[in-house]
């Protein structure tokens, strides 16, 4: 097995453990888009808001600390400004309409056999694949 498959599996187990911690201790579903979105638009209030801010602090802070001491490699994100902005807007709008992203629908939804989670995952994987074919292999943009 190639090494990055192993890292993928180990990283995945840690991601699932993170979601399990939030569920079993606080009784919350780990959805990155919902947590960030409700902080950004001000809909999270009181102790819920403080808990979500703490989550975001850990999510940004822990990788930042590792990157500081061990290096982080690269995100390899495109430098095409139009693509970055369009992609960001689509991800932001899409996750809000679908009420979830890869963590909420993918990890937390599929693991409880939620029909919504499974359908959401199928559609974002399909859309991602189609965009890849169109924008990489037909248009050559990404």
């Amino acid at each position: 097995m190639e090494l990055h498959y192993l890292y993928g599996l180990l990283g995945g187990l840690i991601i699932g453990t993170a979601a399990a911690v939030l569920l079993l201790i606080n009784g919350k579903i780990m959805g990155a888009s919902g947590i960030l979105g409700s902080i950004a638009d001000g809909s999270a209030e009181g102790s819920d808001r403080r808990e979500k801010l703490a989550f975001l602090g850990g999510l940004i802070g822990a990788p930042a600390l590792v990157a500081l001491f061990f290096g982080a490699g690269s995100t390899n994100l495109t430098t095409n400004v139009v693509v970055i902005i369009a992609a960001g807007l689509l991800v932001g709008i899409g996750t809000r309409i679908a009420n979830g992203c890869t963590s909420g629908h993918g990890v937390c939804g599929i693991s409880r056999l939620s029909i919504r989670g499974i359908v959401a995952t199928v559609f974002y994987l399909l859309a991602g694949g189609i965009v890849m074919v169109l924008f990489r292999h037909v248009l050559g943009v990404i």
Binding site: I60, N76, G92, I97, A98, S111, V131
Partner: protein, 141 residues
């Protein structure tokens, strides 16, 4: 204490995303690019993440309440609206274009450079404008 648990979950989530390679857009786009140099790593990540969560969901049936909370989330809604399909399709398009989704965009903030910050900014802008627009025009209700 709940804040500490929340911060711990966020930290674990970020470290998992980093270790798994999900903060590297070539890995994500490599998974979506089935006609290119296909990279199956993301399947290992998703599979690995679902395992502990499947156990955790089963454990919620045995306990009356979360350790530091009053109630577990309600059972999943099996009613499918257009919003799940439309929203997930839009999200998938953006995810394919850039190779970033919300979790990794946040986790890689410290080393993602101006591009990562710009993506995050555009994503937050989309998240903020969508709920009032949906209410105003009764879109995908």
């Amino acid at each position: 204490m709940r804040m500490f648990a929340s911060a711990l979950a966020g930290a674990l989530f970020g470290l998992g995303l980093m270790l798994s390679g999900m903060t590297d857009t070539t890995r994500v786009q490599g998974w979506l690019d089935i006609f290119g140099a296909w990279d199956p790593t993301l399947a290992f990540v998703l599979g690995g993440a679902i395992l502990p969560m499947a156990v955790a969901w089963r454990m919620t049936r045995r306990f009356a309440s979360p350790i530091l909370g009053t109630a577990f989330p309600p059972p999943p809604q099996h009613k499918l609206g257009r919003n799940v399909v439309v929203g997930s399709t839009l999200f998938g398009m953006g995810w394919g274009l850039a190779g970033l989704c919300p979790g990794p965009a946040l986790a890689s903030l410290s080393w993602g450079g101006w591009g990562g910050a710009l993506f995050l900014l555009a994503m937050v802008a989309g998240m903020v404008v969508t709920p009032p627009l949906r209410r105003r025009f009764a879109l995908f209700a």
